[in-house]
């Protein structure tokens, strides 16, 4: 059997490490100056896929293949390249100006069509959420669009068991997947058959670094000019595989433009307000016994301390 795994990833601005350079004078963040990174929990999703691939026993006919899919501008090829550096088999960039401004519903629609175009799959692994929006919505919405089961907030993949005794079984239909899902109250141990979508948390693993050997192989991996125009009829030949990124546009995946990007997004941003965190009244307390005693007395007077 060959287990087909798809990992969805996203390139995001690094909202978690805002340095002084990205701060404006008014105390708000200059988003344009934030570096674009591989969404952290998507790296955890990728790591889980790579672990499954490695743990499938060598010497049996069982194997796994990993395809990474991202939706984004041409620059997002960078996260696909990073995925290749870590050992995935194939990558696809889903990119079109018509996809811009998509909310999670429009995003999951586009991703679902790209995944359908890839053909048969057993398992989709997503990061729990992306650090630019923190919505955690695309995973479950993708599962619904593909009409498959979902398990979110997965902290550990415990077991993959094949119901049929022979590992030579040609299908994965009898394979059962056992995972540990984190909740507010503890954990759930859950089982499901394929096809299945998982969302993975940051605590699941420590993502591996890029392999130096793979970096050498894929260092020239990029989008060919022709891929960005409709004139392209370049076949996906083996010679190109290490250099040329597959790019699918709105026509390639057969998307209805009314369901993509801004027009396919029921949510609209009415307004945004920069967060400036300062207080008007602030007291400097000198680090002496007298001053700290006075502070404790003041807090007690105001019933803040009992």
């Amino acid at each position: 059997m060959c287990l087909k795994i798809i990992v969805t990833v996203k390139q995001v601005p690094d909202t978690h490490n805002i340095t002084g350079d990205a701060m404006k004078a008014d105390g708000t963040v200059n988003r344009a100056l934030l570096p674009a990174i591989f969404n952290p929990e998507d790296l955890n999703a990728l790591e889980e896929a790579l672990k499954i691939k490695e743990n499938i026993r060598v010497g049996t006919s069982a194997s796994a293949s990993i395809t990474v899919v991202t939706m984004g501008p041409p620059k997002a090829v960078e996260v696909l390249k990073e995925s290749l550096y870590r050992g995935v088999d194939d990558v696809v960039l889903v990119s079109d100006s018509k996809f811009a401004g998509a909310d999670t519903l429009a995003t999951s629609y586009v991703l679902s069509l790209a995944i359908k175009k890839l053909g048969h799959f057993d398992l989709i692994i997503c990061g729990r959420q992306a650090i630019d929006g923190d919505t955690a919505q695309v995973g479950p919405q993708l599962a619904e669009k593909l009409n498959i089961n979902q398990i979110t907030n997965v902290e550990e993949i415990l077991e993959i068991t094949n119901g049929s005794a022979a590992t030579t079984a040609t299908t994965t239909a009898t394979t059962t997947f056992k995972v540990k899902r984190a909740t507010e109250n503890g954990y759930e141990i859950l089982k499901s058959k394929f096809p299945l979508l998982l969302t993975v948390t940051a605590t699941a693993n420590s993502p591996r670094p890029a392999s130096a050997k793979k970096v050498m192989i894929y260092k020239n991996f990029s989008i060919k000019e022709s891929e960005l125009s409709y004139l392209s009829n370049a076949a996906d030949t083996k010679e190109d595989k290490h250099n040329e990124c597959k790019v699918w546009n709105v026509n390639d995946i057969g998307a209805d433009i009314n369901l993509c990007g801004v027009s396919g997004s029921p949510t609209k941003v009415k307004s945004i307000q920069n967060v400036v965190l300062t207080v008007s009244e602030s007291k400097q307390i000198a680090n002496t016994n007298e001053n700290i005693c006075e502070l404790v007395r003041e807090l007690t007077r105001e019933h803040i301390l009992s």
Binding site: I18, Q150, Q273, L277, I292, T300
Partner: protein, 348 residues
């Protein structure tokens, strides 16, 4: 059956062994907020609850209604004893199609955040995650003005902006809402809700939808209760040594507070995850927040800025935490904390 009402997903811990079945706090908060919105919109507040053996829980259902519910839809089935995604999502989707509410609210819990997107996808409607406020207001686009549309306010971009999201053409508008941000209504013991029983088979949920097998549920005792703590003493990387943590625990014990930590401290394994305050941890609103050796990254501030008073202790006089602190002490926590402990003990 009237339409355009507000529907609240009432989450319970049904199925968790050894725990009395009860409704999550966030669901009661949502009912409370919904009554306020419903008053302006002149509609009803409805709730939907899924689980097993609710006929034994009549008192619980009545108690929920006291927060302001007009109607409660009960979906009672042994197969719903434990939460699983597809049956819960499909049942609620079908109920939404049947009731045609204007607004649907979920707690931003692991369950709420699991099913709400799936439901929004099935119904092709707008969903806003993790709201910290809900209001009704006007929204104008291309010369079309929507009155009393749901304004869904949430932090975005790692907490660096507050965004107001609307889903003007979406029926319904859906949102998940964080726990602890909406004020609870006072209980009205005379308020009664109409209880409507719904069957899974009538809601298009079939055996084939139960694809997840619940093998085991492992409850973990929570060692800290940061949400309800009046006083929190929090450690940052500048106070993560063994000695500093001991002092912080000492101070918390002396003042009757809880110990918390910033994300780097949790990531370093000094304190467990349930102690984490911030964007990816817990949002707290204590009366007093003592930030020890915390630099004050925006992700941390997002989780504690609403503390009534903030006392910051840091060696670095330029630490960003001082910009939001009410009281600033520039100094080493190893030196400052013993002074606070001694001042507090001597005051008594």
């Amino acid at each position: 059956m009237s339409e355009n009402n507000i529907l609240v997903f009432i989450e319970n811990n049904n199925g968790n062994v050894n725990v009395n079945v009860n409704v999550l706090q966030v669901s009661l908060e949502l009912i409370s907020k919904a009554t306020e919105l419903a008053k302006t919109l002149n509609v009803k507040v409805c709730g939907v609850i899924l689980g097993f053996n609710f006929h034994l829980q009549n008192e619980m259902l009545e108690n929920i209604a006291h927060y302001g519910l007009d109607e409660i839809y009960v979906i009672d089935d042994p197969r719903l004893k434990h939460f699983t995604s597809i049956p819960y999502a499909k049942a609620i989707s079908a109920l939404i199609r049947k009731l045609n509410p204007n607004i649907v609210l979920f707690g931003a819990t692991t369950t709420g955040r699991d099913i709400a997107p799936r439901i929004a996808s099935e119904l092709k409607c707008g969903l806003t995650a993790d709201c910290t406020d809900l209001q009704l207001g006007e929204y104008t686009i291309k010369n079309k003005t929507y009155q009393n549309t749901l304004l869904q306010i949430r932090p975005a971009f790692g907490g660096n902006i507050m965004a107001t999201i609307v889903s003007p053409d979406s029926s319904p508008s859906m949102a998940t809402v964080r726990e602890g941000v909406m004020r609870l209504n006072s209980v009205d013991p005379n308020k009664k809700a109409i209880i409507v029983n719904e069957k899974l088979s009538d809601l298009n949920v079939f055996d084939s939808d139960f694809q997840t097998e619940v093998v085991e549920i492992i409850l973990k005792e929570k060692s800290v209760d940061l949400k309800n703590a009046k006083i929190i003493v929090a450690a940052g990387m500048g106070a993560s040594s063994e000695g500093a943590i001991t002092l912080i625990k000492d101070l918390a014990r002396t003042l009757g507070g809880e110990v918390a930590g910033s994300r780097p401290v949790i990531d370093a394994g000094v304190l467990t995850k349930d102690h984490q305050v911030g964007q990816t941890g817990i949002t707290v609103r204590p009366t007093l927040y003592i930030a020890c050796g915390i630099s004050g990254q925006i992700q941390h501030r997002a989780g504690m800025e609403e503390a009534k008073r903030i006392l910051a202790i840091n060696k670095d006089p330029n630490a960003p935490i001082f910009s939001i602190a009410h009281y600033s002490i520039v100094g080493d926590v190893m030196d400052v904390i013993p002074k606070i402990i001694s001042a507090y003990k001597n005051k008594l």
